[in-house]
C-alpha cells in the first residue's frame, strides 16, 4: 500500500483561505481537503491514496507528461 499521498501538503494559507493550524492541502486540486478525505491522503485505516482518492495523479505519469511538455512533444511517438 502507498504511504501518505505524495500530493499532500499541510498549509496555513491557500485556496483563498487561511488557518491558524496547518491543514491538509491537495496540490492536485489546489484546495484544502475535507477532514474525511484527509484519512485517504494520510493512508489511515488501510486506505490507499492511489486506489481510494478520485483526485490522485500517479507521480510517475505526471513526471512523464512534464517531460513531454518540456520537449514540446504530444506523447504520440
Amino acid at each position: 500500500m502507498d504511504e501518505t499521498c505524495q500530493h499532500l501538503s499541510y498549509r496555513e494559507e491557500g485556496d483563498g483561505k487561511s488557518f491558524d493550524t496547518a491543514r491538509a492541502f491537495c496540490t492536485v486540486t489546489e484546495s484544502f481537503v475535507q477532514p474525511m478525505r484527509a484519512d485517504v491522503c494520510n493512508a489511515r485505516y488501510d486506505l490507499d491514496p492511489a486506489a481510494d482518492c478520485e483526485f490522485y495523479v500517479d507521480p510517475e505519469s505526471e513526471a512523464a507528461e512534464d517531460e513531454d511538455a518540456d520537449r514540446g512533444g504530444d506523447g504520440a511517438e
Binding site: 499541510y10 485556496d15 483561505k17 488557518f19 493550524t21 496547518a22 491543514r23 491538509a24 484546495s31 484544502f32 481537503v33 475535507q34 477532514p35 474525511m36 478525505r37 484527509a38 484519512d39 485517504v40 494520510n42 489511515r44 485505516y45 488501510d46 486506505l47 486506489a51 481510494d52 482518492c53 478520485e54
Partner: protein, 280 residues
C-alpha cells in the same frame, strides 16, 4: 409516533449536530472543531432549544478523531458549558477500524446516547463505510452494557429492514433516525418519509435528518408526523441559499417551527422520559 401525536401536541426533541466528521472549516469558516468551539456551539444550541447534542471529535487540525481521550475532552467541555443537555456520541466513520469505532462509547461517564449506523453507505466515488452486521451488533452490545441508548441510523430502506429485524433486542422505545439526501441515503421526498413512518410498529420513536436544502422541509414534515428532528452544520451549512448558517440559527428555526405547529420543544428532562434515557 403518529400524526395523532402531532395533534396531541407531543413534545418534539431537537438534536443539534454541531460539527460532524465530513467537512470542516475549509467548507464553513465558523464550523466548530476544537473542544472549546464545540462547547460554545453546544451551549448556544441548548439555549435555542436543542435537548440532544450530537458530537464528533476532531484533531487540532480539524481532521477526524475517534479516540476515547479526544471524545472525553470534548464531552467534558460540553458538559461544563451546558446545563442539562443529553450527549450523543457518533460511532460512525468511513473506513475506521472496528476497534476505533467503539472508543467514543468509553468516556467517563458514558454518553447517554450514541449513533449506530445500520449498514453500508458510500462516500464520494471510492469510499464505503461497511458497517457490517458484526460491527453493528458489537457496538450495540457495548451500548447496552454501558446504558447507552442507540439511535439507529437508517440511511436507506435496506437499513430500515435491518432495524426492524432487531426491534426485539432494543430497549423501549426503539429510536430510529431517518436520513434523506443524495448518494446511498434515501431520496428526499415527503412521500418517502410517509412510507417510512407507516412501516413502523407502534411504540417506535423516530427522528429525521434532511441533508443540505432538504433540512428545512424534512424537519417540518417530521414535526407534522409526530417525529423528532436533527438540524445543524454537520448536515446543512446554509440557512438559505447562499447564506451560511450557524448551529444556533438552525436550532432556533426548528424550535420556532415546532412551536408554531403546536409541538412544544422537549426539555432535556422530557427527552429523557420520552426516550428512556439513563440520565446525565
Amino acid at each position: 409516533m403518529t400524526y395523532d401525536d402531532y395533534i396531541d401536541g407531543k413534545p418534539a426533541v431537537i438534536t443539534a449536530a454541531l460539527t460532524g466528521g465530513v467537512h470542516g472549516k475549509e467548507a464553513h469558516p465558523d464550523l466548530p472543531e476544537t473542544p472549546a468551539e464545540i462547547a460554545a456551539a453546544a451551549a448556544a444550541c441548548e439555549e435555542a432549544g436543542a435537548s440532544v447534542l450530537h458530537l464528533h471529535a476532531r484533531r487540532d487540525n480539524g481532521e477526524r478523531a475517534f479516540s476515547t481521550e479526544r471524545f472525553q475532552e470534548i464531552a467534558d467541555a460540553v458538559r461544563e458549558a451546558t446545563d442539562d443537555a443529553v450527549l450523543q456520541h457518533s460511532t460512525g466513520g468511513t473506513a475506521a477500524p472496528d476497534a476505533l469505532r467503539h472508543e467514543p462509547l468509553r468516556t467517563d461517564p458514558a454518553p447517554e446516547m450514541a449513533s449506530l449506523d445500520m449498514g453500508p453507505l458510500n462516500r464520494y466515488d471510492r469510499l464505503t463505510s461497511e458497517n457490517t452486521r458484526e460491527l453493528v451488533s458489537s457496538l450495540h452490545a457495548e451500548m447496552k452494557e454501558r446504558g447507552i441508548k442507540p439511535e439507529l441510523e437508517v440511511f436507506n430502506d435496506g437499513h430500515l429492514n435491518e432495524s426492524l429485524a432487531i426491534l426485539d433486542e432494543l430497549d423501549d422505545p426503539p429510536y430510529l433516525n431517518f436520513l434523506f439526501g443524495g448518494g446511498t441515503t434515501s431520496p428526499p421526498h415527503p412521500r418517502n418519509l410517509v412510507n417510512r413512518v407507516e412501516a413502523l410498529p407502534e411504540g417506535v420513536e423516530f427522528n429525521v435528518i434532511g441533508f443540505g436544502p432538504h433540512q428545512l422541509p424534512m424537519t417540518t414534515q417530521s414535526l407534522l408526523l409526530g417525529g423528532h428532528v436533527r438540524v445543524g452544520l454537520e448536515d446543512n451549512r446554509y440557512y438559505e441559499k447562499g447564506e451560511l448558517a450557524t448551529n444556533e440559527q438552525l436550532v432556533a428555526r426548528a424550535a420556532r417551527i415546532a412551536e408554531e405547529l403546536g409541538r412544544p420543544v422537549a426539555t432535556p428532562d422530557q427527552t429523557r422520559k420520552l426516550l428512556g434515557l439513563r440520565g446525565r
